[in-house]
Symmetry: C2
Subunit: 333 residues, 2 copies
């Protein structure tokens, strides 16, 4: 029997991961055979989706991580019952860039509070941490290599990426000390996200597909030749589950693992949109350059060679048409 905790469990990825776990009814943990899911705890500052909250196996804790995990709370003790913690909660990139202190508090101090709570009762849970491609960056002095691999030096050009890489190192040290079993996974930009736009700088990469497919206008703040490294929601969740399920030796070390990436340009994405939805769809996109967004997005690498992920059996989405097809299937579902 396994207890699972998801921080950011009311968010898009967290709730999708939660639904998959509840549907499967079991989870593979650190190289062991699949264990039945006993309890799924969701922590989020936003309310959890109704379908999740209604499941008898689900416990919802609403509030900031630091508040929920204060040492004296029963919730902090409950965290210590987790066999697997998926740490997805985060203030997103544009929020952190606009409010430096918010990012430090939510992302850095939130992770510190979670790891400290996770270790407190000596259970040594597996902790899958959703890091980000934003740990990498191009600067004037340090251009990106043509292809980024698992040994590339992080050089974040955003506070969000900085907090992510700091958390990776903190989790690695908890792991080295035997206090947690950390697996930091750097997610690519997840497309197509359903729902409303969020404050992530990369949000438009979903919007320019999602909105036209729904017959609505969308804004693109970057030029068509802008390249991005993307992954579908399905493959992203599969990567998180694979990280939890890998044995320590298969996982392969303390450092963070880059997810597989499909490299696409905005023009590629729009060509795929047109193939699926006809010539009218791209016409719903308004091109409104935004230098702030463009500079953040263009500092992220677009081309990856993700050897560790490949060794775990993880592959990138084959093409952008299939990503759109997955999104349409999700919308029908």
């Amino acid at each position: 029997m396994a207890n699972v905790l998801i921080t950011g469990g009311a968010g898009f990825l967290g709730s999708r991961l939660g639904r998959e776990l509840l549907a499967a009814g079991s989870i593979e943990v650190a190289g062991q055979a699949a264990a039945p899911l006993r309890r799924l705890m969701l922590i989020d500052s936003a309310p959890a989706p109704q379908d999740l909250a209604a499941d008898a196996r689900v416990t919802v804790l609403e509030g900031s991580l630091a508040a929920v995990l204060n040492e004296s709370t029963a919730e902090a003790r409950a965290v210590a019952d987790a066999d697997v913690i998926f740490h997805l909660a985060a203030a997103v990139s544009a929020e952190c860039e606009a409010d430096f202190d918010l990012g430090i508090r939510a992302n850095l101090h939130g992770a510190e509070a979670l790891f400290a709570a996770g270790r407190r009762y000596g259970r040594v849970p597996v902790v899958v941490f959703a890091s980000s491609v934003a740990v990498f960056g191009a600067s004037a002095e340090h251009p990106l290599p043509a292809v980024v691999d698992d040994q590339t030096l992080p050089n974040p050009q955003s506070s969000y990426g900085t907090q992510k890489v700091m958390t990776e190192f903190l989790l690695a040290d908890y792991t080295r000390k035997g206090l947690l079993r950390g697996r930091a996974v750097r997610l690519m930009t997840v497309v197509v996200r359903p729902g409303r736009p969020n404050a992530a700088a990369s949000g438009f990469l979903s919007g320019i597909i999602r909105e036209p497919l729904a017959g609505q206008r969308a804004t693109c703040p970057v030029s068509p030749e802008t390249a991005a490294a993307v992954g579908s929601p399905a493959r992203t969740v599969a990567g998180l589950l694979r990280a939890a399920g890998a044995s320590d030796s298969a996982w392969g070390g303390l450092s963070a693992m880059n997810m597989p990436a499909l490299t696409v340009t905005v023009a590629d994405m729009i060509a795929a949109l047109e193939r699926v939805a006809g010539t009218g769809a791209p016409e719903l996109i308004d091109w409104v350059p935004d230098a702030r967004i463009a500079s953040m997005v263009s500092s992220w690498p677009a081309r990856f060679q993700s050897d560790r992920a490949a060794r775990l059996g993880l592959a990138p989405d084959p093409d952008f048409d299939s990503i759109i097809a997955l999104h349409l299937a999700d919308m029908r579902g």
Copy 2:
């Protein structure tokens, strides 16, 4: 006129740096001509040496960084008057390995408190941060490259190294945001340290020279073929001052800079000791293997190619004999 703050200002490196600044009476800051030294503030949890405290230009603040820099104190406001901050204060490697929470509090939270105080009144001081070779490490999955350079991926195998690399990234983000002008400098193992042994895992690298030269016995916990990357106190302080004095463009980016390193084996060091002090000196060394120390020290790289440091005009000590000669001159002084 320049105000200078040294955290860890009562320590070996901090007080040496303080004495050099007081003797020079001026400091170069960020590419400007040397400015007269108006005030030197020392923060340390230990009392400052008498000669420093007696200088009219010196202010001493005794206490932990977090306590001294609490927002409401006059001291926190005084920090904001600094034009240059040398952040040397740290719990050392073996302390942090023995007490995980101490390291987080002293090294990570201490740096956070300092940077937050430094930015509070909008002066944007130059912050020279003493990071460490301990950010690098060899692990089973990620052996070290034959030569470490400024682009090598940190892979700390100690909590101390973890806290150092986290602080490097935090300082880089403060710098990118224009809140501070950070210069993170990775120091090599500083030898020969005067005085009593401290709790640094590398402490014996000074002890096996210092103690025999003073006619006392010393303990060596590693084998003679163990290699280390070292720098003399004089060149280490020179590197810190050069980091403060370099213009932003000469400094060359947000990421940390490796100091130049002299690579020596313990056997090399003892051969030099014998050349200086005769055959009796090495006989004062007791060889007492300590697996904990040996594993930490041998995880650190010994061979560096420090291109950024070279571009700033910094060179390694020429040989270990000259490092011993510097130590003997210091002892006579």
